[in-house]
């Protein structure tokens, strides 16, 4: 995933990524006798980390030890599979 970051102004653009993603999947490794859970993680394109906004706003150096950009994400609650006999 390339980055559109302009660190000096702490801006990113939506020239990459998609506005809507749709998917369907059949579990290829499904074992009907085993307990399982599935949850979804969604990733945004890279955007400035808060420290990068701060650095641009206050005109200070970027903090060491953290990346200038990150990818925001969503985690859904899981769907659980429980075998009948349990």
């Amino acid at each position: 995933m390339p980055s559109t970051l302009d660190a000096a102004t702490a801006t990113c653009t939506n020239s990459i990524g998609d506005a809507l993603m749709m998917a369907s999947r059949t579990d290829p490794d499904f074992d009907q006798d085993g307990r399982a859970l599935y949850f979804v993680r969604v990733l945004e394109i890279p955007t400035p980390r808060r420290t990068t906004y701060d650095a641009a706003f206050f005109a200070v150096e970027l903090a060491g030890g953290v990346p200038p950009t990150h990818q925001e994400r969503a985690y859904t609650s899981p769907n659980c599979y429980t075998p009948d006999s349990r």
Binding site: T11, C12, T13, N14, S15, D18, A19, L20, M22, F57, F58, A59
Partner: protein
């Protein structure tokens, strides 16, 4: 205290840029009463939170300015048993049972609604059902009451039409009856108005139809019930001249301190009178008329169940999408429509004529924004193709609804128009921050609102002189749009030398509907010789299509509709389209307007859903699939001199 270098002295920097060299050389500046040292001057600080002070519109609120209930004589006398209470409940997302017994529900609630019952004999159907003693004192009231109560519904409606519409009698000439009904209407709106959650505007429809030409106007008040109750609605039998309606509106504002606007009904059945260059009384439009119309009628109902009225293929031969659900056979009196009437019935041509009139008069009478509304008479504001409850209760979902006649053909010249030709349209998006009467009404009055043919497509456009290609890709592009440009409904003036208008557009599909096909800019302008022109540019195409030398997407988007089952899929089109465009033909001396049209991918027409659901043949004369669309309010460019 913060160090100065950590702040951004924006205003002071701006002053520097404008000031002659040397003016800030001194370290002390003298005011009228005392001097200020440079070191002690307050420093303007930029806010850390990017949203502090934001006051521009950031949400779309969906609604319908034009809904009839059982309080309208042509609804309540012919089968609609649902009143304003049910209309609001339905708009708020509740499931209701329609007048013909069909359960009905919206995909999502609306945010606001105008119950716009006909002012003419408003409430008569409910007064008849109550056997209201004051109404029964009138001859017409008693006759229609008795017929209706004997079950002679058709005869009651026919008698009523003859006495009231044709002969112009008013069975409610006692103001006491009118007041009773109006206070009920105001009461329903007050009860359902929930600032911040749902807005119930107070309004009515003035239903003038001189010589069979439909000149109706929906009147929308900004105010609460206390002000609205100070007047009684203005009816066509008070006057059928719009200029008299505007005078009534002016008197309302003067008397109450409130505000009111009017929205002309779509002009499909107006036979060239809706945007005529003469007044109804036959005078050429003058500056006073133009100013009054522009003031009182900032919007126009461009699409509704009785057809779409954006453009006509005869007027716009280069527009492949102009032939959309047009109703162009004639008027209510059976007078056939002729080609010279068309420019005065359709929105795009009216916007163009407005430029010409402005050039002559100094004021543009046809400077309107775009509204989509239903004009449904079922109390059910439905605009989706798969959830269409029809124009009137007699034509609610069922096996036999295609053949019902809406427009008659009394002269036998082919003006008849049928229920299957009605369209599941339209809807209005309002850009605002708050869902209140005041905030939404103000947005409508400044034309920051747009029409769709029923889908909840989000669309935003800004015009300015200094945008660049990349700004529309920024998450905060709207902030830039407002800061250095104008939104839909706005005005561009004073073109900087050598610059052309630049437009930024974003369109997002309805989350519960179809992907988008393309975004188009439609420009109209007046040349130096006084001739009017229009041109269309496709500015964003889905599916990786390029824009060809004719300014169009290089191929059609395709069609996924399974007609037999009335289904489609979103494997073509795109959910979001963004565009930047600079007018390549701009002439700063020429008046112009720009508006945006967004097209969805093809989806089944409501008749196709009906045919699949009820196992019917498709009706002939309408296409099985169609492309829903959004029309933004225009942005106008006016030369300096």
């Amino acid at each position: 205290m913060r160090k100065p270098e950590q702040s951004l002295p924006v205003a002071i920097a701006a002053l520097f840029a404008l000031a002659p060299a040397g003016i800030f050389a001194s370290d002390t500046a003298v005011g009228p009463d005392f001097a200020v040292d440079r070191d002690n001057a307050p420093v303007l600080e930029k806010n850390y939170s990017p949203f502090v002070g934001d006051d521009y519109p950031n949400r779309v609120f969906w609604g319908d300015t034009h809904l009839h209930t059982s309080y309208s004589y042509d609804a309540g006398l012919v089968g609609n048993t649902l009143g304003p209470d049910e209309a609001y409940q339905f708009a708020k997302g509740k499931q209701v049972i329609s007048a013909t017994g069909v359960p009905a529900k919206l995909v999502r609630p609306l945010d606001w609604l105008v119950v716009a019952d006909h002012a003419e004999t408003m409430g008569v159907p409910v007064l008849i059902q109550r056997s209201d003693p004051v109404l029964l004192k009138t001859e017409i009231g008693k006759t229609v009451h008795d017929l209706y109560m004997q079950g002679k519904v058709y005869e009651a409606f026919e008698y009523y039409g003859l006495k009231v519409l044709v002969e112009g009698n008013n069975p409610m000439d006692d103001p006491a009856i009118v007041r009773t009904v109006w206070e009920e209407m105001v009461g329903f709106a007050e009860e359902h108005n929930e600032p911040g959650k749902f807005t119930a505007f107070i309004g009515f429809e003035w239903s003038a139809m001189p010589a069979g030409n439909n000149l109706h106007r929906v009147v929308v008040m900004r105010d609460d019930g206390d002000k609205a109750s100070e007047v009684l609605p203005f009816a066509a039998y008070d006057s059928d001249d719009p200029e008299d309606l505007w005078q009534w509106m002016a008197r309302y504002e003067e008397k109450t301190g409130g505000q009111v606007l009017a929205i002309p009904h779509n002009g499909n059945l107006a036979n060239g009178v809706m945007f005529a260059t003469e007044t109804l009384s036959g005078k050429r439009i003058d500056k006073d008329y133009a100013a009054a119309r522009a003031k009182w009628e900032p919007l126009y109902e461009v699409t509704q169940m009785k057809g779409d009225g954006e453009a006509h293929p005869l007027l716009s031969p280069d527009d492949e999408f102009a032939d959309y659900e047009r109703w162009d056979r004639g008027n209510w009196a059976g007078e056939k429509k002729t080609p010279e009437m068309l420019p005065h019935d359709y929105a795009r041509s009216a916007l163009k004529i407005g430029l010409q009139l402005e050039d002559k008069l100094g004021v543009n009478p046809f400077k309107f924004g775009m509204v989509g509304a239903t004009d449904s008479h079922t109390s059910l504001s439905t605009t989706r193709e798969d959830n269409y409850f029809g124009k009137v209760s007699l034509m609610e979902p069922g096996k036999e609804r295609f053949t019902g006649q809406i427009v008659p053909d009394p002269e036998g010249v082919g003006t008849a128009t049928y229920e299957f030709e009605t369209i599941a349209s339209g809807l209005q998006g309002v850009w605002s921050r708050e869902n209140t009467r005041e905030s939404l009404w103000d947005a409508m009055n400044r034309k920051e609102t747009y029409a769709t043919t029923g889908s909840r497509i989000t669309v935003r456009v800004f015009a300015g002189w200094d945008f660049d290609e990349k700004t529309v890709l920024r998450p905060d592009f709207a902030k830039v749009g407002y800061r250095s440009g104008v939104p839909m409904g706005g005005d561009l003036k004073a073109a900087p030398s050598g610059k052309s208008p630049r437009l930024m557009i974003r369109a997002l599909r309805d989350p519960d509907a179809a992907n988008l096909d393309r975004v188009q800019i439609i420009k109209g302008w007046l040349d130096a010789k006084g001739k009017l022109h229009e041109r269309i540019w496709d500015v964003a195409c889905s599916d990786g299509r390029t824009i060809n030398e004719r300014n169009r997407c290089d191929r059609m988007v395709g069609n996924t509709v399974d007609i037999e089952h009335a289904t489609y899929t979103n494997d073509i089109g795109e959910p979001l389209l963004m565009a930047y465009w600079e007018d390549p033909e701009f002439d700063p001396k020429q008046r112009a307007f720009y508006y945006v049209r967004v097209l969805e991918i093809p989806t089944p027409r409501w008749t196709t859903y009906d045919a699949a659901f009820y196992g019917l043949d498709l009706p002939e004369g309408v296409p099985p699939t169609q492309q829903e669309r959004a029309y933004t309010s225009p942005i106008w460019y006016t030369p300096s001199s």
